[in-house]
Subunit: 344 residues, 4 copies
Amino acid sequence: MIRFENDYAEGAHPRILKRLLETNEEQTPGYGADEHCEKAKTYIRKACDIEHADIHFLVGGTQANTTIIASILRPHQGAVAAITGHIAVHEAGAIEATGHKVLTLPSDDGKIRAEQVREMVDNHWNDAAHEHMVQPGLVYISHPTENGTAYRRSELEALSKVCRESGLPLVLDGARLGYGLVSKDSEVTLADIARLCDVFYIGGTKIGALCGEAVVIVNEALKKDFRYAIKQKGGLLAKGRLLGIQFETLFEDGLYHEISSHAVEMAMMIREAFREKGFSFRYDSPTNQQFPILPNQILSELSKTYSYSLWEKFDAEHSVVRFCTTWATKKENVERLIADIKAL
Amino acid sequence: MIRFENDYAEGAHPRILKRLLETNEEQTPGYGADEHCEKAKTYIRKACDIEHADIHFLVGGTQANTTIIASILRPHQGAVAAITGHIAVHEAGAIEATGHKVLTLPSDDGKIRAEQVREMVDNHWNDAAHEHMVQPGLVYISHPTENGTAYRRSELEALSKVCRESGLPLVLDGARLGYGLVSKDSEVTLADIARLCDVFYIGGTKIGALCGEAVVIVNEALKKDFRYAIKQKGGLLAKGRLLGIQFETLFEDGLYHEISSHAVEMAMMIREAFREKGFSFRYDSPTNQQFPILPNQILSELSKTYSYSLWEKFDAEHSVVRFCTTWATKKENVERLIADIKAL
Amino acid sequence: MIRFENDYAEGAHPRILKRLLETNEEQTPGYGADEHCEKAKTYIRKACDIEHADIHFLVGGTQANTTIIASILRPHQGAVAAITGHIAVHEAGAIEATGHKVLTLPSDDGKIRAEQVREMVDNHWNDAAHEHMVQPGLVYISHPTENGTAYRRSELEALSKVCRESGLPLVLDGARLGYGLVSKDSEVTLADIARLCDVFYIGGTKIGALCGEAVVIVNEALKKDFRYAIKQKGGLLAKGRLLGIQFETLFEDGLYHEISSHAVEMAMMIREAFREKGFSFRYDSPTNQQFPILPNQILSELSKTYSYSLWEKFDAEHSVVRFCTTWATKKENVERLIADIKAL
Amino acid sequence: MIRFENDYAEGAHPRILKRLLETNEEQTPGYGADEHCEKAKTYIRKACDIEHADIHFLVGGTQANTTIIASILRPHQGAVAAITGHIAVHEAGAIEATGHKVLTLPSDDGKIRAEQVREMVDNHWNDAAHEHMVQPGLVYISHPTENGTAYRRSELEALSKVCRESGLPLVLDGARLGYGLVSKDSEVTLADIARLCDVFYIGGTKIGALCGEAVVIVNEALKKDFRYAIKQKGGLLAKGRLLGIQFETLFEDGLYHEISSHAVEMAMMIREAFREKGFSFRYDSPTNQQFPILPNQILSELSKTYSYSLWEKFDAEHSVVRFCTTWATKKENVERLIADIKAL
């Protein structure tokens, strides 16, 4: 079975494991106060072209989202998000568990638009009963989105502008950030993100690490006491070096970019093959997740050799499925898949 | 500098890293549904001599405590704990952040006694205003405690009895469990714990793993929907295998016991050296943490070669310090320390 | 100005004030342990034709909803509600503040249907990733709804059936319950509600009281420790008699029914007047709130003499407005309004 | 039976009821936007000798404490309080339910001292692991305390100074504030409190009202969005006038002072009688609650005619009991009690 069902099926990129091995006997201070964490932060600040960001390493995405959002909001505020956003759907109510509503905006492709945010904010303040309602307190977006789509720079700039005009921090969930950064369609760079967002994180788990997300706090006002927040939400690892060493390896000489590029290249090959065969896609994704709409008959054929995940029923005879690629996706396997698609 | 300041200064036991390397290319399902997690669970159930426990792997201790306690309690209930307990002092209010008070009992050595629990429970129900107060909802203990002390079997049995008579689940924090299990003073086995507690966890982070705690739910009534709780509290790793592989390695052929024994053996050597020299101890610890009370002058001498952590001021001229040992503590370094103690 | 804008513009029904005056010097135990509370409970149990319900008096609707829902749900569960439900829109995130998501169902008239609940529950359990999502934990409905509409007995029976088959308590918000009970369209009695719901409350604030809602817990499993919940949520009044005396007065000889009937009778007269004049309604309400769709020009005419509340914009030239009636609505004022409508 | 057991046994002061009656037919806007609330605020600002305080009316003390504290703190912060403080003991975990720990200081008389606060704050910041601990976020005191004792002006000034130097808002629970203000020992005025505290509330429930506490927010930084907080915690009454009318009556021409003075005068008579007879007191209370230590034999004698509440066991033969007085305490009953004490 050749697996395309998700982007977390293997362990870590070999260079990460190698580094863990090399550094294993080193004795370091705990809780992220070690030199590997420091180096990783320096590399990341440089990659973001920003001098003064605070950087913290957390284990996973739900933890990062919860810690960030609970740290920013006052009790009567909510997080504005796409109705498809990870915090709205797939975190088992983690945000609500910290006391906050997720205020959802409709979205067909996973993205939200600046005008939608402006309208929601205006509606809130124009409502005579606004004190009876949850106040928008920040805006949460994913880039790339859960549907593989990516924001264009102009879209991100427009969102950032509305957020700043409305006094709402813009929080970017970058669980798959690398795939967005290398996408050919995208003009959005790490420096753009650091410039336009207040807090964001650089996903490691789905881009070659065993685990780990690097939270970057750009907005000075949001930096205070964040380590208390991490500790309280259970995210402060005694052996914090585990995360520092991984991000050090990913960012010291371009491995993060290399992994992301490979995965997206593989995904584009798969996309092209389905497209040439005349299949359409549920979302127009320029990243490592592809969502072709396929006849069920063809799917049962493909599933003999390949695993993918079932996304949703499309109609009586078609389904939307998801093919994912990673650092570990072998070109020969992709070529075999392409040949099989052609032969359908 | 030879370091004794904590038990999380190095990476993982080499056999764990080796196994991570060997399995790295395997493709496995995510979120802990892989075979390594399954095997680890089987080994742990066997070590606990129990057939039907539910086992879940979490990343760290604060996360484990929070997830367990929030899953058990109703909103008006609190967790009974020693005033020195980790949840009462060193989790940045993680339990309160889930809505629950920690109801503290005085303790000089980190342990609580059955009679204390009974008295607190009786006082609650005998108070005419009990509906205005937080209801005791579970009992939390650490074994070994944060002070290195360990429960005797009879103490644990008495606590368990009171808890069952009062309808309170008994939750055991085993962040350093191995060190308690191998202690010569201790008669408490994993099977005892599984028999006497409702939920407990087996610490990995401080006993040779990169990270990870194995939560064992024995009480049938507390098993339901625990994976939702893990997800909500940010503890469900996409690459859950990271934890499964580590516990598989620790429990398949006695590595957990081996690591714990080595560390406690080293600690006993250090204890003996201080004792022979006439120093006394803040706590009578039979485990890997030792708390000698030393003259400040001697400390400044020792600190040229050895690191330890400052625990608390004892009097104008003495301090309580902590020496920790682990799998990575080298016998030659311990011997050198002992020689230096003798030469004081 | 003759006011129809809401149903809480005046104080209390005179018979309630009179009773407060008569009983003022009595010395009673605090926190709802007085005889007036006991009598009120007896009257309410009789009105519900149920022997063993637990009854508690709370001050307001948001408080009642929050206390009930937080008491029932486990942390990973949410409350299923209409997207227009009070808890989903107008409680400033009170439910989320206790850690729970409100899982919304679309609704055009404020009601939800049994099939919608069944579908949501089925979808949850059929989703492979359900442990990553908020689990439906109870169903919340309002009767009458925030839009004045009322459930038919068959609708309530169907909802109750789905809830019981799914293991979900059915919670009914009866902030305006009296108006539903006396509505000519309605076949739903208090006994029906007590038979079909697990917890509900009988609104006092909007039906003649100064403040107060009577929470009725029918389901045995949900009764335990509810007074702790009230205390924790700030709802346990030292002078609990204030609520007991009011509900005693409302239920000892039919005042609750009398007040409700008068208000609905007045509302039906207003409805008929608008209808005869050819206006249509945003919701088909058989209760004390009427939502005619009126030309803006006519509204500016009416607003010289009458107050109403603006509900929503309908189109460029029409608005939906709300006219409310209460015990204090004078027939002569209603007749004057009708005359003015006829003269438009 | 002549009752002294608490200060909430009767309804409201007759002038309050009279005013409710007089205003009952008035039609007013809901949710505290009525003229009575406005007038009450004006009177209270004048009594506090402060121009710009925000004032809000809540129903009860637990609700006020919870709403205030949850509105001020960030998630990792706790409320510093006496171990005997109402929020620490008698609110069923209401503060914890909003996510915050109560950080307790020892106290024998219900008061805390400036030096205790300074030491706790210093200890926090000096602890290398402070990010693993709950950060002190505000200081909560009661005046008079739960034990009847009252702060002296110098004590309050010292507390205020430490709080301001440490950046901690000082919150004063004034559930029985009037009794402190009129106490002969006290030099603390409403203006002092408004000058020295950041937020406080003026209790109504225990000083002549049916229910109600007036929250006064002096600190500009804490005013923002407080009405959202009230709504979310279930405290925004539809008929907010109920509270406004009561505080208008209490503050328009000195009724609050008059009620408080009468009660304290009665209490002083009782105190003197016990003192003359040679009995001592558990707390030295200059307010409406008296805590004599009495032989059990004498108590059983007194309990034939008088009710009081049992506070705690003192020794095998003595108990601490509480006698309370209010606006409704009749001088003739107090005189009868005194005669009976003398005759013991």
